[in-house]
Amino acid sequence: MKRRAFLTAFASAAVSLPFAAGAQQARRVRHVGVLMLYPESDPEGQLRARAFREGLEERGWVIGRNLQIDFHWGVGDLEWTSSAVAEMVKRAPEVLLANSAQAARAAQPASRTIPTVFIAGDPMTQGFVQSLAQPGGNMTGFTALNLGSKSLELLKEMAPPVARVAVLINPDNLSNMADTRLAAVAAEKLAVEAVAAPIRTVPEVEAAMEMIASKPNGGLIVPADPFLAGHRKLIVGLAARYRLPAVYAQRSFVVDGGLASYGASIPALFRQAAGYVDQILRGEKAANLPVQRPTTFELVINLRAANALGVGLTPQLLALANELIE
């Protein structure tokens, strides 16, 4: 009798042990820190955050139960982002997500101990990674492609009379410089004059716009840059005022009234970044994850802006657009 009782106790204990162990492991709450480019009020920022959350949920994380995400919103200069990083690090995140090159640069020192996923331009030249295929350090992520030439082509297609194009660039942004060069090459082929307009402050924006508008048949190319993106309402407003057709790099401009944008969908990149964060949480090393470039590019056209500018959109163009905003 005693032997049987012992036996059943032993068997049930042996069977229940793995369950207990499994349950134990599930209860640990993981921690992720996110440095967002846009402020919380910005709908684009919300889109990106949502895409990130959804990407994680798809991979089995339940936010609040086994995962905690700290969002740090806002556009800022390097100093601000550094203090933000310091604060975030205090809360001991296991992975950092940095949106924009500034955030990534600010997070770089912390990245020595905390794996960091960036969504930023030109990681190699910025020194985040050794190579795109093998990052080699504790940072990896997603980068945008320079679509300067294609943007110019699109601009010329939409507004054939355009003869002079200003490329608004942030001189501190190296990828903007690449775009400028691409635009210059395209401009030659398209028989257009391309001018680089370096902008650091708001008055410089107005000055650049004025400069381009001073001569007829002007156009605008606005590549991706956090500063520029932060002031998109201003830029779009000015472009409308000066009746300049423009092709932007980001959809958010078009949403705010810009004519058209051609670029990678950043929220999609955030979704993919969620995949990387998931892998890192499951033990993958950041050095093993290659830096990825976007695979999908969207053409977004604002019909109202087109009407306002008097830009005639061919049915073909309309057919080719990925999104039409009214």
Binding site: R4, T8, A14, L132, A133, L147, L152, A319
Partner: protein, 769 residues
């Protein structure tokens, strides 16, 4: 007679030991048998069940995996086919004579429909590039680049479709060239660069169990899609893996055994299967870690194991109980038999199993009853016989006593008269005759003493007092005693000295050895006698060897019988009554010393007495050999002698007077009283015969006299009666009792003794022979 049963009991004791082992064996045997009967089929069925379920599970797993691989392959194949389809649509459109702008639009539309295509090129029928539309760079129109020699053009033109090898752009993006030719040669070829990252998405989303994965390998064995993109970007070559080799060979059978994982070769063993992705000639692999794959098997194994174990323990438990129930009645029988064998015939075995064992138990019981009955009968017979023997023995002793008593009286007187005569004879002839008469009287005294000894021993009046003493003292006395007689017969007497100490009664042991030595000397005509002591363990063997005529085996038992004498070669009697050895035997049994006899007729005999050894630490005082005390304590003392035999009285009076005593004689105590009264003084000693006339005893006479005179005058008794009862009475009364015939010297010694310490005579010291 009692010897037999203890022996039987001893056998049973030995039997009990081995039967204990046998008892355990039976239970164990039954338990093992029952357990084997249950467990063998149980285990074999269990094992077979496990094995067959394992096989089933494995084949089900493999089938499932294969289907998963097929499904995954289909997904990828479908993806490629869709792209192909879209491109084909475009090639078909290229038939019509359309403008470059239209063509451009078609190609851009293609790109919009198929996000995977990053770049598409229209080549005319001669291999010249007509149009290039790109997502990233500016479209190029009519570059005129000659692609006529390129495999992508040539093969597409030839076979309508071309699947290029996988290459990496900027080391991080996998691409494939897909070229399709139109239905007409003039249509040329549409070449698209397909970004295979889109395949990565699909591959990562394929679910294979919980921890399994799917990956794609191209026709050269290179990894082109894997959930872990880093592996792909490292341009991993998997052609070394056996499963990949097999698949590349076209062997699409199911591989049942786990292999090293492609993804993480160091850690896991996986079950893998593959399927072909036909359009591009790729292979889709699906791997599932063996641990996860076999987890259900392992858990079912565990469950089965647990159940088997529980079943087994139950079986063991049940068989134990069952076997015990079977074995218990057998054990009861065994124990009962043991008890009966041990002599407890009144025990009965209780078995109530209702089967043959119960019948057996009942048989045992009836057998025990029979044994009990016969044993009781036997005991009764034995008791009867013993009683008879005792009675006979007692009768014999009484006869002896009675016979000797009548003979003792005149002999006693004779001794006295001879002593009287000794002082009167003057002539040499007369003296010689007197010597011979003395010798005869001595011999008769000896004989009577021997008879008395036997009576005393039979009456169990003698109590041995055990002391520790060195045997050398005894040996020395033996030597002294027999040296003379040995020399007379020209025999060699050798007494071997010994340092041993023994625990025995000195005087009785001396008596034994004296008797044996005397026999040895008497029976040996030539040769010698050797007396020695030999240590044997914790006993000492006192041995007497003689080179006499020996004792035949047939008579060895009889020599200890009374009055038995071995007839010599001449048939003469050797002297003595044949009582020596009887006394020796009785003394030995009284002292609990063993006797051994060995003899070879014609050569000699050896007698051995086994005496317990003692440690030599006790101071030993040698009892003095009794030498008659010739002293003068008798002079002037007044002695009263009471005896109903006038002859004896006369003799006693003379003897005592010759020692210097004043004697008063009387036939009974009343006469004695009268005589003493006439004397006017109290007597110093009273000597009385035991058996007086008219049935009164010497005790009463002395008592009467003492009370009449008012003092406890020292007294002792003389008796011719050697019956055991007399001896007991004497011992009980506390009076010293001498037996007729009393040697004059001995009498004198005792009289002197009494007269010397008349103040404090101890009456309880028994006189030893």
């Amino acid at each position: 007679m009692n010897d037999r049963f203890p022996a039987a009991g001893a056998d049973i004791e030995i039997g009990a030991e081995s039967s204990a082992r046998v008892r355990r064996r039976l239970l164990g045997k039954y338990v093992r048998l029952l357990v084997a009967v249950v467990s063998v089929p149980l285990l074999s069925i269990g094992a077979f069940g496990i094995w067959s379920s394992y096989q089933d599970h494995k084949s089900a797993l493999m089938r499932l995996q294969h289907e998963q691989a097929e499904a995954a392959a289909a997904k990828i194949g479908q993806f490629i086919s869709e792209i192909e389809g879209q491109i084909r649509l475009v090639t078909q459109l290229s038939n019509s004579a359309s403008t470059t702008q239209q063509r451009r639009f078609e190609l851009r539309l293609l790109q919009r429909q198929v996000p995977a295509i990053t770049e598409v090129v229209q080549v005319d029928g001669d291999g010249r590039e007509q149009l290039k539309v790109s997502r990233l760079a500016i479209d190029e129109i009519n570059t005129g680049t000659d692609l006529s020699q390129e495999p992508k053009f040539v093969i597409a033109m030839a076979t309508k479709v071309y699947y290029g090898p996988v290459y990496f752009q900027d080391e991080s993006e996998p691409y494939m060239t897909l070229a399709l030719a139109g239905p007409r040669r003039s249509g040329g070829v549409v070449i698209a660069e397909v970004n295979l990252k889109f395949i990565w998405e699909i591959v990562s989303r394929i679910k294979v169990g919980e921890t399994g994965r799917a990956f794609v390998v191209d026709a050269d064995g290179r990894l082109i899609a894997h959930p872990n993109s880093a592996l792909v970007l490292r341009n991993t070559d998997l052609s070394r893996f056996p499963q990949v080799q097999r698949a590349l060979r076209g062997d699409h059978g199911i591989a049942p055994e786990p292999v090293r994982s492609v993804s993480d070769p160091l850690n896991s063993e996986v079950l893998t299967s593959h399927a072909a992705i036909t359009p591009p000639g790729w292979l889709m692999f699906v791997e599932l870690p063996a641990k996860e794959a076999f987890a259900p098997i392992y858990s079912s194994l565990l469950v089965t194991g647990v159940v088997l174990f529980a079943g087994l323990s139950l079986a063991v438990f049940a068989s134990f109980v069952l076997a015990r129930r079977m074995v218990t009645p057998i054990r009861a029988l065994q124990a009962g038999a043991a008890r009966i064998g041990g002599g407890a015939f009144n025990q009965r075995i209780e078995i109530a199993t209702g089967d043959e064992l119960e019948a057996l138990g009942r048989r045992f019981n009836s057998m025990a009853a029979q044994l009990e009955h016969s044993y009781q009968t036997l005991e009764r017979k034995v008791d009867e016989r013993t009683h008879q023997l005792k009675v006979a023995n007692l009768a014999k002793s009484r006869f002896l006593a009675a016979a000797s008593h009548d003979l003792r009286q005149p002999l006693h007187a004779l001794g006295l008269f001879v002593a009287q005569l000794e002082g009167k004879v003057e002539s040499a002839e007369g003296a010689e005759i007197l010597v011979r008469i003395n010798a005869a009287v001595d011999a008769m005294n000896e004989l009577f003493n021997a008879l008395l000894d036997i009576s005393k021993l039979d009456a169990e009046v003698i109590k041995p007092s055990l002391t520790k003493f060195p045997i050398q003292t005894l040996l020395r006395r033996l030597e002294t005693t027999f040296a003379e007689s040995a020399r007379e017969k020209e025999l060699l007497l050798r007494v071997v000295p010994s340092t041993a100490w023994v625990c025995s009664d000195f005087i009785l042991l001396e008596r034994i050895m004296m008797n044996l030595a005397s026999n040895a000397v008497r029976c040996t005509d030539c040769g010698g006698v050797v007396i020695g002591a030999r240590r044997r363990g914790d006993t000492l063997r006192l041995e007497i060897w003689d080179s006499g005529s020996g004792i035949p085996d047939s008579q060895l038992q009889n020599i200890f019988a009374e009055f038995y004498q071995i007839a010599g070669p001449q048939g003469d009697r050797r002297g003595g009554l044949g009582l020596g050895l009887s006394i020796v035997q009785r003394l030995c049994s009284l002292l609990d010393h063993r006797i051994e006899v060995t003899s070879i007729p014609g050569k000699g005999s050896r007698f051995a007495i086994l005496v317990p050894l003692a440690s030599a630490d006790v101071a030993f005082i040698e009892p003095k050999a009794r030498a008659p005390i010739i002293d003068e304590p008798c002079r002037g003392k007044q002695v009263v002698v009471i005896d109903n035999d006038a002859l004896v009285l006369e003799g006693m009076r003379w003897l005592l007077a010759s020692w210097g005593c004043h004697v008063v004689t009387a036939p009974d105590d009343r006469a004695a009283l009268t005589a003493v009264a006439k004397l006017g003084r109290l007597p110093d000693l009273i000597i009385s015969d035991y058996r007086l006339s008219e049935g009164s005893t010497g005790f009463e006479a002395v008592a009467q006299l003492r009370s009449a005179l008012g003092t406890a005058i020292p007294a002792f008794l003389i008796s011719g009666d050697t019956a055991p009862e007399r001896l007991h009475e004497a011992a009980a009364s506390g009076f010293q009792l001498l037996h007729k015939p009393v040697q004059p010297n001995a009498l004198r010694a005792i009289v002197s003794h009494f007269l010397k310490n008349d103040a404090n005579v101890s009456c309880d010291a028994e006189m030893k022979i």
